[in-house]
């Protein structure tokens, strides 16, 4: 059983009950000139997650373990975008990479370095959380996944919301700190602290080299 040195305690999983979630590594959030940067955010804070995440995904694929990618976005007619979200601006407007956060647009898709392989699942979500109004629960049930490694962007928004949803549903979540990113270093720090506080109120925090080492010490499945 792989055991990962984590906060607040070691995180264990089996090769047949774990899945990797990669949250919203989309061009609109990560690329210079995209929606995220147009809001005045420092996208380099997110870009640093690409390399460790690519390495983690490579190891995950080598072990034939499941990877689920998510994308935040809306239908072209915006019928799945709440008026209060639309009123805050940007969504559906013309951006550098097509209509902002609209399904099918270039900016809505995942960055080239982390592109899903054939057979990997992609969950499109209208909100910050990956469980609300999606079939993620059914997917995880079919995979028999009880332990989730949650990665992606941004730490305090979509990653946190998804970890909170997963935690209430009884999943154990491990968040590798170097594979999640926030535009704001302060939120990166407190976002990770909140997860591991009070005995791990939402889950566990480690880093990807520790996770990879725990996995690599196992016989290949």
């Amino acid at each position: 059983m792989p055991t990962v040195d984590a906060k607040p305690s070691p995180f264990t999983f089996e090769l047949d009950n774990v899945a990797l979630l990669v949250i919203d590594m989309q061009r609109d959030f990560l690329l210079p000139g995209g929606f995220g940067e147009s809001l005045g955010n420092d996208v380099s804070q997110l870009a640093r997650t690409i390399e460790p995440l690519a390495a983690l995904m490579a190891v995950w694929r080598a072990h034939n373990l499941p990877i689920i990618h998510t994308r935040e976005g809306h239908l072209p007619d915006l019928s799945d975008c709440p008026p209060s979200k639309l009123a805050r601006g940007g969504i559906g407007e013309q951006g550098a990479f097509g209509r902002i956060l609209i399904r099918g647009e270039y900016g809505h898709d995942i960055v080239d370095e982390l592109a899903p392989l054939d057979g990997e699942l992609v969950v499109d979500k209208p909100g910050k959380g990956a469980f609300y109004a999606t079939d993620l629960s059914d997917i995880l049930e079919k995979l028999n996944a009880k332990k989730l490694v949650v990665t992606g962007v941004t730490t305090e928004v979509c990653v946190h919301t998804t970890v909170r949803e997963a935690n209430d549903r009884g999943y154990d979540c491990l968040v590798p700190a170097d594979c999640v990113g926030s535009y704001f270093p302060e939120f990166q720090r407190v976002g990770l602290e909140m997860i591991a506080a009070q005995g791990g109120i939402f889950g566990w925090v480690a880093d990807s080299p520790t996770l990879i080492a725990a996995l690599s010490s196992q016989e290949q499945k």
Partner: protein, 241 residues
């Protein structure tokens, strides 16, 4: 109904996004004001945290409750807790509470910790529900998961939520995130919330305000009271009934 709320001087925008909202479309959500979270001998006290921090929002919440009850606003109270047989307690949640020395379901000074019907699970008297107010029992941090909250809100025609309760970064934030994804326009009150760690309280409120209000807005109870406008008809005060 008899009054409107807004525009409220909130951060980062004047709340709500659509200018004003009738009290009949607005609900006040009071999250987990339970002895287990803010009373002596409760769960949070047993874990060794300072309950003065989680009690800090009680006076302002009590005052706001009086105000919105006078307006006839829908009031919803939530309680985190589990069935006595623990059949709705995820094993990992139980395990983690045991690790920190306050296992859910075990006996404490206020009865079995976080178990429905026990003294510690009840809402503290300062903000106790009145007969007729909605109570939502939830097994998780979020008030939407595995509850009827969404159905209750939609049945009442509610589109806007004002959030109070504890703790800011855990149950209030999780509920606000769930509500925001469901399209509810949310306002969290800085003086009617609290956390076991003051810096988490501050950071959680700050997170709400980023990116144009990624989960909604932050204000104080005074801001809400000041932004209450009676409409053409006189307000329905209980003493006039």
């Amino acid at each position: 109904m008899t009054a409107t709320i807004g525009p409220v001087k909130a951060n980062p925008y004047l709340w709500p996004y659509d200018g004003t909202v009738d009290v009949s479309r607005t609900a006040l959500i009071c999250i987990d004001w339970q002895t287990d979270f803010c009373g002596k001998g409760g769960y949070v006290d047993s874990m060794g945290y300072d309950i003065e921090l989680t009690r800090a929002g009680l006076p302002a919440t009590a005052r706001l409750l009086e105000h919105v009850r006078g307006l006839g606003m829908l009031v919803i109270h939530t309680r985190e807790g589990h069935d006595p047989d623990l059949s709705d307690l995820p094993p990992n949640k139980r395990w983690r509470s045991a690790q920190i020395g306050a296992e859910i379901g075990s006996d404490g000074p206020c009865g079995r910790i976080l178990i429905k019907g026990e003294p510690g699970w009840e809402i503290v008297p300062e903000v106790a529900p009145l007969p007729g107010e909605v109570l939502v029992d939830k097994p998780g941090k979020g008030a939407f998961y595995a509850t009827n909250l969404d159905l209750v809100l939609r049945t009442h025609g509610i589109t806007h939520l004002i959030l109070t309760g504890i703790t800011t970064d855990v149950c209030v934030h999780t509920t606000m995130r769930e509500a925001n994804d469901r399209g509810y326009e949310c306002l969290i009150l800085s003086d009617c919330t609290g956390a076991t760690d003051p810096s988490n309280h501050t950071a959680a409120l700050h997170m709400v305000t980023m990116q144009g209000g990624v989960f909604g807005c932050v204000a104080t109870s005074d801001d809400v009271i000041a932004a209450t406008e009676p409409s053409d008809h006189p307000a329905r005060h209980p003493e006039n009934d």
